[in-house]
Symmetry: C5
Subunit: 157 residues, 5 copies
């Protein structure tokens, strides 16, 4: 059994935590879930570290939807730095799954993107914990989570 | 009993610390308050860590009103990073409650916003300490503190 | 007795450290001074931590005058982050007293501002160490160091 | 024997990890390789620290290809800071080998650049571990990895 | 005897490390030198910490020449933050001596500046280690390293 922490927010406009949990359930029966919900993305680093320390997660999916104003971009940057610091201190992987509100051309695409990116990162979480050798096989493939993959560059001569 | 730390500033143009204390009093009789006031938002991280270490707070509300000049935006960014670092080191939640001076269309709205955002975050503080399961129920609801909630996105097909 | 560290620079165009010392002398006879001078503001964080660790300061006033070029603004940001980190690690307050070279309309105003901001922060240092309850009374008053106070916002209805 | 860690991503559009390994094989038979592949560059700091701690690397090559959007530039900045922090904590060198998607004038040049920069940094890795005195001889030579060297400035009078 | 660490890069277009060593030799016979050369400025923080830890430096001069592209400015910022973090952790001074490629009006001036700034900071290194009281005497004098000093502001009335 592996334990995956789910940290998400009340600020997000999609229940990304629930999407993550549903996807993980379809991927493996050997995953236990621990979930914490906080107000916004800047609260994710502390929540994430607590999922590692107090609830023994092996990996955390940190989910959020930063707004589109300049101040929101700064918030996202701060949250990212905090999450990275927690990962460095805990030596365990954190998948930051942020969907910026201006990434979708309308509300419908934005909702689709939030679900799809979460699903694809849930698969990353699964592979990182159970099949890291599979990640190596995918190195340099230009993979994306959400929109279409960029794909590998042509090798040249 | 839970203990909530209140860190605020003499720079702010609204007594946000007092608003926080009054709101917490209406939410529960099982909350003890510890308060520290410092000159500006960049002094909040140290004050916050001391509220955790020396006065045993379970959660800190860090309140401030950054100015509207470019240098003030940088200050707010620095303060946010410092607060996040303290939370990570202490493993306890910090609610950063900043109201930027350019968020209100006039002084009246700004004063209203400072009070309202503080009140709504006081409720978050209460829920996080006493009813974390209630936070999970609110995940992905597009909640905002101050102005109107954005609400959840339509689910699409 | 309390001990206040003074960290300042040879880069500054006003002897802010001397202004700080003279002001502290007028405020209390129970303050001991420890001073260190370094080349520029990016050297202040190390000097500040040494004032805490090796010379036992209870609070440090970190004084500097960042230039007006873009690179100087970045330096000031880096210095601020370093000072904040030292405060968090040492759990003791640091008053960052920076005067940006473009804050004054001419050299005369700039020199006045550097002195005045230092004097007003020396008073903050005194209150924080000897009368923290006085700081709480000033919460939300819109106080500024240097130019005129902004004052509190009208309370609205 | 020395052990070099290779951390790379599935996001990259060139298999930079493989290029690094092939180059190191041509440089020395006294190098052992440990490889980890993660989704994106923000996952490199944790992977790098684990290569030091759990797989005993003496140096890590951290390889990635940030995209060209503004958000990608921020990601690269965050990843760089995280990698630097890991190096500082572990006291062992990390070569950050990033190729920005807008550094090539077309896909062909971009692919060439990703390979060439990786090869040249593999040589740096070799020299740093086996012949640090050779690095000192190259000090101030205006060396670049990928495009042509800038070369030393003329000495003047 | 005092020990000064010299950390420099193969990226720089002037052998700043050599300039530093030659200048220090003229200033005192009581200085021992430890030198490490790395590829670029982002490698300086680790090299600097190792000079403190493994080769027992009392102070490190960290020398580099950031390029003029936007990405180079970000690199310089990251390197500066890393150097500051090392200084804070080690409690020993680091003189960051960076010359930006766009600081000189041509290659000749740039080469001159790189040498001159290094020489003037070598004197700072000497004073900080052997005569810190001399630094205090220079406080607020508007000193610069490289180009002409700004000088102190007129005192006003």
């Amino acid at each position: 059994m592996k334990r995956i922490g789910i940290a998400d927010t009340t600020f997000a406009r999609v229940n990304m935590g629930q999407v993550a949990i549903e996807t993980l359930r379809t991927l493996s029966s050997e995953i236990e879930i621990e979930r914490a919900t906080v107000p916004g993305i800047k609260d994710l680093p502390v929540a994430t570290r607590r999922l590692f320390r107090e609830r023994n997660a092996d990996l955390v999916m940190a989910l959020g939807m930063p707004g589109k104003a300049a101040v929101d971009k700064v918030c996202a940057h701060e949250a990212s730095q905090g999450l990275m610091q927690v990962g460095i201190l805990e030596l365990r992987p954190i998948l930051e799954i942020f969907v910026h509100e201006d990434e979708g051309k309308d509300e419908k695409e934005l909702a689709w993107l939030a679900r799809r990116r979460t699903e694809e990162h849930a698969e990353n979480a699964y592979l990182m914990l159970f099949h890291p050798e599979e990640m190596v096989k995918r190195a340099g493939q230009g993979l994306r989570q959400g929109f279409a993959d960029a794909g590998p560059l042509p090798k040249g001569e």
